[in-house]
């Protein structure tokens, strides 16, 4: 498959193309711009996302959105956007039978948005609801993650949620959207990905059509160093909910193109592979102790983890965090669960994993990385990301690195990049004051089970249940749900 991958660079600050001609009658597009919510001006948080929505779901100069839906309908096609800090991508697929009419709609979405006031109003409402209801109201786990990111990157271009803030959305205007579009949706930021059995000359046509976008200058913002945490901080978001969801972590220096990335990926896969029962954290917390539904760890941004089993591509970032995701636990076990997760983090940092575990995980990743490319669209997305990170084709990159990797390299990477302290911990919880009090008192939080447990687990629990967090009152803040991303 890699033979077909062709990277065609253009002149400095010009559009770039990643083309993967193939035999599939499904033509898949990923039209990406290197701009995103990191470019949102202060007071206009959420603007990149709203601009992308106006492009993909707001109609074009010549066609109302309603008419576009009518046209797309018989083709069973559509286009969706994904906005992250430094990247916005429009993703769509059509059958080659419908390529001409579909492409015309996609082209117009990118080059000639309609900017109608009623679409603006609808999409702004929709984004507000995605933020206030979809995220804050209905998804405690994703909320925990997004609050964690916003806390770790406070005052940094990554410091705001991609969906923005309610108050900013309320004051946003159509003129804001248009000016953001002009400034950032330019040839200098454009990367076009296309795959499938498209006709000869098709890519040349796309190039010509998209050349109407302003040339522009790259939107890449200067990323200051992330302010280091000097001590552990806890943010408890108080809301009416049955259970307590946690997310915690800290920024790391490792991104996909860092020499230690494969080693750290292996460490995190062993420790907490996403949605897999094979991870150590999952085994210790859920399988042995039945504390919750699952527990995982990450070294790259992975939104929507409760809905997807593989990460979405095109979430390129120049700064990442190490993150642990503890799925909701029953309130009486919330203190113990946090102590246990931190106990396991201690163990990871102090001891890493056994050589045999290293080998098993390496063998797993060697093959599992192929599954990330199970669709052509994903393959295309990874190819675009690899271009941005300046690394070879992703599966080859990982497999080559893994083949050379030694147990000691992984242990070294853990010691270098991970630590036991200075975390930001986010909890989503009802009765936040009670949780805060328990954490401050730091008293025993014994675990009771509904069935006999092996002696070694009970012994371990004795240590965990008195593990000191040593938090001072100023380190634990309670934020009411209504104030989050307000």
């Amino acid at each position: 498959m890699n033979k077909l991958l062709m990277l065609c660079g253009a002149a400095a600050f010009g559009a770039e193309y990643v083309t993967m001609p193939g035999q599939s009658p499904l033509i898949q597009f990923r039209i990406a711009f290197r701009a995103g919510s990191a470019n949102d001006p202060k007071g206009k948080e959420g603007l990149a996302n709203l601009t992308a929505s106006m492009m993909s779901s707001g109609g074009s100069k010549t066609k109302a959105y309603k008419d576009i839906l009518e046209e797309l309908y018989p083709m069973a096609s559509g286009m969706v956007n994904q906005v992250d800090k430094e990247m916005t991508v429009f993703v769509g697929t059509t059958h080659v039978d419908n390529l001409e009419p579909y492409y015309a709609l996609l082209r117009d979405a990118i080059t000639a948005p309609g900017w109608r006031e009623d679409d603006f109003k609808r999409l702004r409402d929709s984004q507000k609801n995605a933020l206030r209801l979809g995220l804050i109201g209905n998804n405690d786990e994703e909320l925990g993650k997004e609050v964690l990111y916003s806390k770790l990157y406070q005052g940094h271009p990554y410091g705001e949620a991609n969906l923005g803030r309610t108050s900013a959305l309320e004051s946003m205007t159509l003129a804001d959207v248009q000016s953001f579009y002009k400034r950032h949706f330019t040839q200098a930021n454009l990367i076009v990905g296309v795959t499938g059995k498209y006709p000869a000359g098709f890519v040349e046509r796309i190039k010509k059509d998209l050349a109407v976008l302003p040339k522009g200058m790259p939107s890449t913002v200067k990323l200051p160093a992330v302010k280091p945490l000097t001590e552990t901080r806890v943010t408890i978001v108080e809301k009416k909910t049955r259970s307590v969801a946690y997310s915690f972590g800290y920024p790391i220096d490792v991104t996909r193109n860092h020499p230690d990335f494969p080693a750290l990926l292996l460490a995190s896969t062993w420790f907490g592979n996403h949605r897999s029962s094979g991870g150590n954290l999952y085994q210790r917390m859920r399988e042995i102790r039945g504390l919750n539904y699952g527990d995982y760890s990450y070294i790259e941004y992975f939104p929507n983890g409760m809905f997807v089993l593989e990460p979405d591509p095109n979430l390129y970032r120049r700064s990442q965090i190490f993150q642990m995701w503890i799925r909701p636990v029953e309130p009486p076990t919330a203190h113990f669960a946090l102590r246990l997760a931190l106990f396991e983090l201690d163990r990871l940092v102090d001891k890493g994993m056994a050589e045999s575990e290293f080998e098993t995980t390496r063998d797993f990743l060697m093959r599992n990385v192929n599954l990330l490319m199970k669709t052509k669209s994903a393959e295309l997305g990874y190819a675009i990301d690899s271009k941005l990170y300046g690394i070879p084709e992703y599966t080859k990159y990982i497999q080559t690195a893994l083949a050379k990797l030694k147990h000691e390299d992984v242990l070294k990477a853990i010691r270098k990049h991970l630590r036991k302290d200075r975390l930001h911990i986010v909890a989503i919880s009802d009765n936040a004051a009670d949780l805060r009090k328990a954490l401050l008192e730091d008293g025993p939080s014994p675990m009771r089970y509904n069935s006999p447990k092996p002696g070694d687990i009970l012994e371990e629990d004795k240590l965990i249940s008195v593990k000191k967090l040593n938090l001072k009152p100023e380190q634990i803040a309670i934020v009411p749900e209504a104030q989050v991303f307000q």
């Binding site: 069973a76 919750n292 093959r367 599992n368």
Partner: protein, 444 residues
Amino acid sequence: MTRPIVPALLAALSLATAAEPKKIFDYPYEQTDFPNGLRLITVPTDYPNIVALYIVVNTGSRNEVEPGKSGFAHFFEHMMFRGTKKYPPQKWEQIMKSAGAATNAFTSDDLTAYHATFSKESLPAILELEADRFQNLDYAESVFRTEALAVNGEYNKNSANPTSKLFEKLRDLAFDTHTYKHTTMGFLADIKAMPEQYEYSKTFFNRFYRPEYTTLLVVGDVKTAEVKAAVEKHWGGWKRGAYVAPIPKEAPQTGERKGHVEWPVPTAPWIGVGYKVPAFNDSDKEVAALQLIGSLAFGQTAPAYQRLVLQEQKVDVLFGGSQPRVDPYLFTVLSRVKKQEDVDAVRESVISTLNGLKDTLLESKRLQALKSNMRYGFAMGLDNSEAIAGTMTQAIALARTPEAYNRFYATMEQVTPEDIRNVARKYFVETGRTIVTLSGPKAK
């Protein structure tokens, strides 16, 4: 590499409108029935190196007939990962890991499915591994009790979403005796009592984890003859069972039912409307017509969607349709209303949209566009081996064969505007209707 197999459907979809319609599921597949009742379906594809194995058990929350046992099929899905004497969980994990496998499982009303996607050379080992747990599952009571807590954790993580609660209420109200009364997660009280059900779990396994309930789907870079031989070797000795769950029949509904959910967290109000409709039957034009109405009446190009979502902008989430089920179930319409004061008007709009189908004949142009949407939508969803297996899983739940989809899509092709009108008159009636609303705390 072998010559790519591009199904005729994908290669030339536009021809599908010719007089003799192409089969919607056009991959060449082979269906084999073993003497013990086990069924094997192999689908060789041209996606290289990867195999998707889906093991589908025709048992779901529909089979939970005893009181207090709601949610058990789903709970049991968890227990299936608790190992055997030969392959304890750690060993199972290790083999799956060495295959680079992505594994998981899910349960719905009518089925439980266990799936793994992995490198093709691991197929024989994984077929053996899976055969062992389906025949020799063995776990201690302490392990069982712990796993019940993980299920409670699953209920907790789902509970932040108001639509979970809305559907729980809608089903509870709409059904009196049939097991569709409860959701697949089950009633919370039953979930809380799960740790005490160890003995029952063995009964459940003995009843339903039997070859006559089970279908293996093997999709990807495989050779059918080799798969058949391996399945024969590892699964051939599995003993057939005799149990059939006495699933209660639901008496016809005789009046409208209404309910309301008070949601503790701020939310825009939701409205769920359900109408009783017949069971899935791949040759029944009524069922096919009902299947089409969801998109016709509430899809993005439907007049109701365009009015409520795009023009008036009273609603920001709207979808409706009938989900095929083994027994009679519901046609449901779900809407999220931006303002509380619009709830009554939106509810009336949903009802009058369906009533409108009784009087006015649909333009055949719209029906044609929908049929095209269906064909392309189906084909475009089959873009990798795992997706093909996943799609077929539903057909297995309903009729244990991919042919169910071929027949059903052929039946849908036959549906006329008159058929749409007739089913609307028959099923969108007040006596078969259940309405549940949900709203957050009153503004202070």
